[in-house]
Symmetry: C2
Subunit: 251 residues, 2 copies
């Protein structure tokens, strides 16, 4: 049984806590948060603390706090015997005394939406082979998609994730606003959104590109630019259209 | 039984043909294409023709050809007694003698991928009430999501569709290229893509925006810009980041 001290009580931490609760391989023995109120939902099930100096002995210290707090927390809890990992896609692997690693679940987590961890890729990194094996055992117990990758690869994935998740969500948001302003229900686009993503997952997205840009349908493109009043929307439309056309030529 | 002459044998036409084949409300009695070879798959099931002057009498002439060919085809087949509709999101409603309309299925169609039409929104427009009723009967027989909308609303939807479908697919394509160049498997992002879209469909996408842009995490943004070598990718990253931040402020 891998004994885990979970540092953090936010989205990632709470989803990991639930996932570990379902496996016999691991047990969360303590949860830390600097905010006592964040610990209320854990209190009846597990030991909690608001003090980093009161962490229990454990096989793994899993730091799932905001990116900009990671280094400080890790420095503070570091001890030669401790195995410390964080869950971030963009922060370098901890480099403190003892064993270090990364346990990065590549998914977008929402507070109250349960997720099926078995489908979530978990990207691992560790400072030594033995530590990697422990992380693999832990990751395999909750997910079917476990990858050992380098720091560089993880940073590339994190950047690619911004494009496919944060940026595509923003396009949805812009479309939703545009629909509202033009009195059409955004819901009408839901089936299209889901099918577009399904298609990009089942094919090479470069090969299933559709729309006026890739058809070089200049008439429709001009009509669309005329419909867009917001200069920033116009700019986004233009630059993505140009990029689609540049890639179409390259292929 | 609504007798339909289908003009066109491309993606939209072939998917509509299959959908109409499953309903007792309508029957496709003839399929036109100017390319004989496109008709080969229809020939054993239905009358076909490569001549617009040989169309049979029917209740509805459904023009599912490329946007830039629609007007010419409609002008050529127009007769006072004919009810002619097209299936485009961006072309104005036909304005020829007789009855006119639009039958716009809002979805991205791929040649060999079957679709469940019951979930596909169909947007209708017609020059007269009686014609609209016929289109409604037809649309309701294959889809549970039928909308009567104005030309302006249809054009807005079509533009919004470019953002949520063509542009988001292009972001997927850029991410796939970036992954390949940096030797990480794009498949690692599949679960994230599907979950992001599911979340945007079940929530207001403005309210579930995540990532370094909305967190104003300048350190990560600068790291990402440093990782991007292609100037066009850098520009897309910058403009979408700015747009996310501008919207975050407005909300």
């Amino acid at each position: 049984m891998i004994k885990i001290v979970l540092i953090g009580a936010g989205n990632v931490a709470s989803h990991l806590y639930k996932a570990f609760g379902k496996t016999a391989v691991a047990e969360v023995i303590q949860v830390f948060s600097q905010h006592a109120e964040s610990l209320s939902e854990y209190k009846e099930e597990v030991e909690t603390t608001t003090s980093l100096s009161k962490l229990k002995p454990a096989d793994l210290y899993l730091v799932a706090v905001k990116d900009d707090a990671i280094t400080q927390v890790i420095t503070e809890i570091s001890k030669p015997a401790r195995f410390i990992v964080h869950t971030s896609g963009s922060v370098a692997m901890p480099n403190v005394s003892g064993k270090n690693g990364v346990f990065y679940p590549l998914q977008t987590f929402s507070k109250n939406v349960d997720v099926d961890f078995s489908n979530i890729p978990i990207c691992l990194e560790a400072s030594e082979e033995k530590s990697l094996e422990l992380l693999q055992e832990l990751a395999n117990s909750i997910s079917e998609k476990v990858f050992s990758i380098s720091t560089e690869q993880r940073k590339s994935l994190h950047l690619a994730a911004v494009f496919v998740s944060n940026f595509s969500n923003h396009l949805y948001a812009l479309a939703a606003e545009f629909c509202e302003a033009n009195q059409v229900p955004f819901e009408t686009l839901h089936a299209l959104m889901l099918e577009t993503t399904r298609k990009a997952v089942e094919n090479n997205p470069n090969e299933v590109q559709t729309g006026p840009a890739i058809r070089h349908d200049q008439e429709t493109i001009q009509k669309h630019l005329g419909q867009l009043k917001d200069p920033q929307l116009k700019e986004i439309y233009s630059i993505l259209t140009k990029s689609i056309q540049a890639h179409g030529k390259k292929l």
